[in-house]
């Protein structure tokens, strides 16, 4: 896993320094990067896609902690936000923040600082405020993904042939092999319009649910009626995705690095034979990744094209 970046935002210099020092001390085993800001503008400038948690006062000189929550949704949607504040929660209008979440810890509570750091630990380690579930072996899964050289010469062309086969077999316009990294989905190989797609946040990805499947295949007959995706179905339809099937690429150690997917622009049912075929192609794609990496490691060039 990458280093946890934690941002402390408080207009009071002494409080800000104390909170940051407490986080550095209590979470020393995580070796976090702790940054500080005294205003909304400075905090927004400090946000990065790698920011894991934000601890903020509610009242800031140029806005509120809720303004920062909204900025966080754009820059680092997986980050957890904790309001660590003197402000009475009864006086905060939470209705303006519907659809987003922030934790609350009162500065004045008898156990405020202790509870704050415990909560930050849980928030960053289990990504507690993310809007999608994580596999139980997420740490090992990401480490396995990072162990592969996915830029090995020739690999991309070979994987593209797998997506070509998938698209042809299922008679669809789009097929891709997607890698689910710590916070995003990246396209490793593709057929059709996916060549125009960029990487996307994990919370927007269908595949982040596919990697949870025990039998390593997931079908979505219609994104507009599936409860996991219906709230994002407008964007998906614009991308030409109404039906979906994904089969996981599973390493020799049983860890999933991402799926091979096909997309249809109409509702569609998939048979067990369809699932079996896509799983076979996904296994082929994984074999190719393993072989190219083995060849790369041996530096034989035998498998390189």
């Amino acid at each position: 896993m990458s280093t946890y970046r934690i941002l402390c935002v408080d207009p009071d210099d002494a409080d800000r320094a104390e909170t940051a020092a407490r986080i550095r001390s209590d979470l020393a085993d995580l070796d976090p990067v702790v940054e500080t800001a005294g205003s909304l503008a400075d905090a927004e400038a400090a946000l990065t896609p790698e920011t894991a948690a934000i601890v903020t006062e509610y009242t800031l000189p140029d806005g509120t902690g809720f303004d920062l929550v909204r900025s966080t949704e754009d820059v680092c949607p997986d980050a957890g936000v904790v309001l660590y504040t003197d402000t009475d929660p009864e006086t905060i209008d939470t209705s303006e923040l519907r659809g987003a979440l922030a934790e609350y810890v009162g500065k004045g509570s008898v156990f405020g600082a202790d509870r704050l750091t415990q909560l930050i630990r849980t928030t960053v380690e289990s990504r507690a405020q993310a809007s999608y579930p994580l596999p139980q072996n997420e740490t090992e899964r990401v480490a396995a993904l990072q162990s592969y050289d996915l830029d090995a010469p020739g690999l991309s062309a070979s994987l593209n042939r797998v997506t070509d086969l998938a698209a042809e077999h299922f008679d669809v316009d789009i097929a891709s092999i997607n890698i689910i990294s710590e916070h995003s989905q990246e396209f490793l190989a593709c057929y059709g319009a996916t060549q125009e797609w960029e990487s996307m946040d994990r919370e927007d990805s269908i595949c982040t649910f596919t990697i949870l499947e025990d039998d390593d295949v997931m079908t979505v007959e219609d994104v507009t009626t599936d409860p996991r995706f219906e709230s994002r179905s407008e964007d998906l339809l614009e991308m030409g995705i109404q039906a979906y099937m994904g089969a996981n690429l599973v390493t020799e150690a049983g860890l999933v690095i991402g799926p091979l997917c096909i997309y249809d622009d109409r509702p569609r049912e998939f048979s067990s034979a369809d699932e079996a075929y896509l799983k076979a192609l996904a296994a082929l794609a994984m074999d190719l990744i393993e072989l190219y990496n083995r060849a790369d490691a041996e530096d034989s060039g035998e498998w390189q094209r």
């Binding site: 009162g106 507690a128 579930p133």
Partner: protein, 225 residues
């Protein structure tokens, strides 16, 4: 779940669930006509007898009715150690309760529910024996009528994370007959295990525990007071 030797959360005789590790959240599922919600409330309320806190998020039932139900289910229930986030939409007016009660006007305001939950949790935690607080959320099914699944999952996961970090116990109820499997499985990802409930002749119901180590996964009858 939090590591460490802290003793787990125990339950009354008549409810065949072994002690559950601190920091756990359980999804308690069963059809509306079963006594699923009564079971979850009992599991959450029973700790007040031994100076634990009990915190409820009540979606359809008013704070007053909830307290009555807890007293019926657990005669030893100590309301002074309880807190309620009342999301029923009923105006509390000048009502006074032995428990700490905060209201929220609409179930769609998950931020408000979460902040009031956190505020009450802090208060109960300070007075509870060893900071032990049990949380009962009844129900996720009701909240699902106001927000989409992703938002509800995020909310449940955030609560579960807070309960974990504080060494508490969470009991979230869900009626699986009103949701498809995808919804139940997704919400189940926010919990450490599941207690499934069904109706049974000659008992208040039967339950089985799934996903928790060292627990029997057989169906067994339970009885409530």
């Amino acid at each position: 779940m939090s590591p460490g030797p802290e003793p787990g959360y125990e339950f009354p005789e008549g409810i065949p669930i072994d002690a559950v590790p601190v920091g756990s959240t359980l999804l308690v599922t069963g059809p509306a006509l079963s006594r699923t919600e009564d079971l979850a409330l009992s599991l959450a309320a029973c700790g007040t007898e031994s100076q634990e806190g009990a915190l409820f998020i009540s979606t359809n039932t008013t704070a007053e009715r909830l307290l009555e139900t807890c007293r019926q289910l657990q005669p030893s229930f100590d309301a002074a150690r309880a807190g309620i986030v009342d999301c029923s939409g009923q105006d509390l007016g000048r009502a006074r309760f032995e428990a700490q009660v905060k209201s929220i006007s609409t179930q769609s305001d998950l931020t408000g529910i979460g902040m009031k939950f956190s505020s009450l949790y802090e208060s109960l935690y300070a007075d509870a024996r060893d900071g032990r607080v049990r949380t009962g959320l009844a129900s996720l099914s009701s909240l699902s009528m106001y927000v989409d699944l992703r938002s509800l999952f995020q909310f449940a996961q955030t609560l579960s994370g807070r309960i974990d970090s504080a060494g508490g116990l969470g009991l979230f109820t869900l009626d699986p007959t009103t949701h498809d499997t995808k919804t139940v499985n997704t919400l189940g990802q926010a919990a450490d295990g599941r207690v499934e409930v069904r109706e049974a002749d000659g008992a208040d119901g039967e339950l089985r525990v799934r996903g928790l180590p060292a627990q029997s996964s057989d169906w067994r009858p339970f009885s409530l007071s």
